[in-house]
């Protein structure tokens, strides 16, 4: 027994595919001049050695290593993240590009002896009792790729430690991920302890069993349905949006 599936399902992903390949689309976005073009291509391809080679050429040509971070590396990374946002490339491409870009940043910092100013600082953690951290790893990588400094507290982080880190680091945003229903209850405790301390910062929560209905129960919580929401939320904060506006933008139900 077999069936013609054409009346049973629609492969929307095939139907929506662009005529151009991701590589062709990326190539149209690279800077015209060298070695910036090659460096951006190497970031898109996730080729760390090629990124370093391109940076060496640029520095030999007189470029300021620290300026290269914003002028070339971040430009190359943005091509990758923009194509990811458009649904053209997959997450592993972004992760590999981010690895290549971060290695490039470290190289530039070593060469220049200084560090560039990040767009902002964000503290990330996995809820107390929860050791599932792949979601947090993705969130942290996407934030770093977008130019933010990430203080990664890791997984199974006690509430006390989250509060202490927020007080010490004074971040623009806190993120929390959890897989299980009973571990995500720690988010509410974090919220209450922050408010007790008079700290009002956006607390982006997501992952596994976490849903918007739970997150809206506490004042600072903003629900992030996708890991890719994290840098968008950080950008929204930078543009001046407050908690209410963040909830309006990111809460979907």
């Amino acid at each position: 027994m077999d069936v013609d599936p054409s009346k049973i399902l629609v492969r929307y992903n095939v139907a929506k595919e662009k005529a151009q390949t991701p590589e062709e689309m990326a190539a149209e976005l690279y800077p015209a001049e060298e070695p910036a073009k090659s460096i951006c291509a190497a970031i898109f391809d996730g080729e760390e050695d090629d990124v370093i080679e391109g940076l060496e050429k640029a520095i030999e040509g007189g470029a300021d290593p620290i300026a290269l971070i914003d002028d070339v590396l971040m430009v190359g990374m943005k091509i990758t993240t923009d194509l990811y946002d458009q649904g053209v490339i997959f997450l592993p491409n972004v992760m590999m590009s981010a690895d290549a870009m971060l290695e490039g940043i470290e190289f530039c910092k070593e060469q220049g002896g200084a560090a560039p100013e990040p767009k902002g600082k964000i503290v990330c953690h996995v809820a107390e009792g929860d050791v599932h951290d792949i979601g947090k790893t993705i969130v942290a990588a996407l934030l770093r790729a977008a130019g933010y400094e990430v203080v990664d507290l890791g997984r199974d982080v006690p509430v006390d430690e989250v509060i202490a880190a927020v007080k010490k680091e004074n971040p623009m945003m806190l993120t929390g991920t959890a897989l299980m229903t009973t571990t995500m209850y720690a988010f509410k405790e974090v919220n209450d302890r922050l408010l007790e301390s008079g700290i009002k910062l956006p607390f982006q929560c997501g992952g596994g069993a976490v849903n918007q209905d739970f997150v809206v129960q506490y004042e600072l919580g903003v629900y992030g349905e996708e890991a890719a929401d994290a840098p968008k939320m950080a950008d929204a904060i930078l543009s001046g949006k407050g908690l209410a506006q963040l909830k309006e933008q990111f809460h979907k139900h």
């Binding site: 599936p5 049973i8 929307y12 992903n13 929506k16 592993p92 009792g129 929860d130 982080v157 209850y185």
Partner: protein, 461 residues
Amino acid sequence: MVKRYTSLAYKAADDMIFGKSVYPVKAELGLEVGAGYVTAEVNYAPRPEAGVSKEKLVSEYRRLTTDIMARAVQIGFPGVALETEHVEQMTNNPDRGGEVAHVQKTIMEEYHEEYGIKSALRHTPGDIRENRDLLALIGDKYDKLMESFEQVADNGADFLSIETMGGKEILDYSILRNDIPGLVYAIGCLGSIDMTMIWSDIRKIADKKGRIAAGDTDCAQANTAMFIAGGLLDKNLAHTIAIIARAISAPRTLAGYEAGAQGPGKDCGYENTIVKAITGCPITQEGKTSTCAHADVMGNLVMQCCDLWSNESVEYHAEFGGTSVQCWSESLNYDAAMLNVATETGNAKMLRDILVLSDKYRDPQGYVLAYDNAYKVAESIAKDGDDLYLRAKNAAISCVDILNAADSSKLVMSKFEINALNNAKDALSAMTDEADTFMSDSLEKYKAEVAVFRPDDNYKF
């Protein structure tokens, strides 16, 4: 030294069917799994605030267990299985898991006595063998985990299960980098080594307490891949990579049976059809009735060879139709009734094939897991069943070959999926046939690249 499977329990794929397995298992309160009928297995999670104390947790499970049993009686279902997947508070405090099992089994016994309803209780302690910074598969937490198994077995759990984490430190790294050898190493090699250890010990506890060592699932790895892959428009992972991870998970899950598990396999083990072909042991599956927990692209197909039919997990709360566990257990039971009517009327294979064909071409994942193709993957595993590396590699190659041989007018894949498949094929072709070489090369590579990988402590290299 465990005995590895080198042959299949079924002579032909067509012999595989829902409700029937070669080696059924029987629970204390009369429920037989794989003995010719399908039964609902209801799975649930407590509300977030229930975790704050032992009393609240036990009360939550008392109420939801009563709800499920009452609904089965209200609607007239002959049997039901319950699965309690531990929240971390229960496994880390084994007396809490034990108390919950005791309360649940007591309620089930009361319903068995009063109404004759057959039931079985599965407890699934959480894999707590992780420190904050790294996997610690052997040590204090392992001992606590075994204590948890002892407690739930003592207090009435019929089936003992777990979702183990061995290999996850490498999987988390490699799955986000399309690293196929990394998947083989994480799931097929490291995962199987861990499974062989832990299931030997779980079987000892089960035998000592008169319980059944049920089975594992590669939830931490293959399901992570499936969840990241998401739906048709998600761009987080190619679905062709997700199904390669799933194929590799079958020999890993098999290692649990080789070390003493007897089934029913865990619900979220979408690899279970492959495993059933080899072991002949009963399996639980989840699909269209687990949409309360997650979406997938094979909701009907995966029912094809199930012996228990599960909803994966639902938070306990109120719905219009009753509590959530009542609503989902009712849906599960109606599905089971339909399957059992098909069996009673001689139409089981017809229904199985309808279920399969409704999803077989929906996605590469369902295509490979359709029982005819799953059987081919099973054959490739058994062919080199004595070699943990080779059988995992075989599974991946078999998966790629099945997809490449598919009728492209029916299984329509996107360019991304095809590219990922081609890249995977190239990566597999470049891999050695020598297990020792692969293991030593991988050890060196991932020790250098993954800071939390502790092979000496966890896998005894």
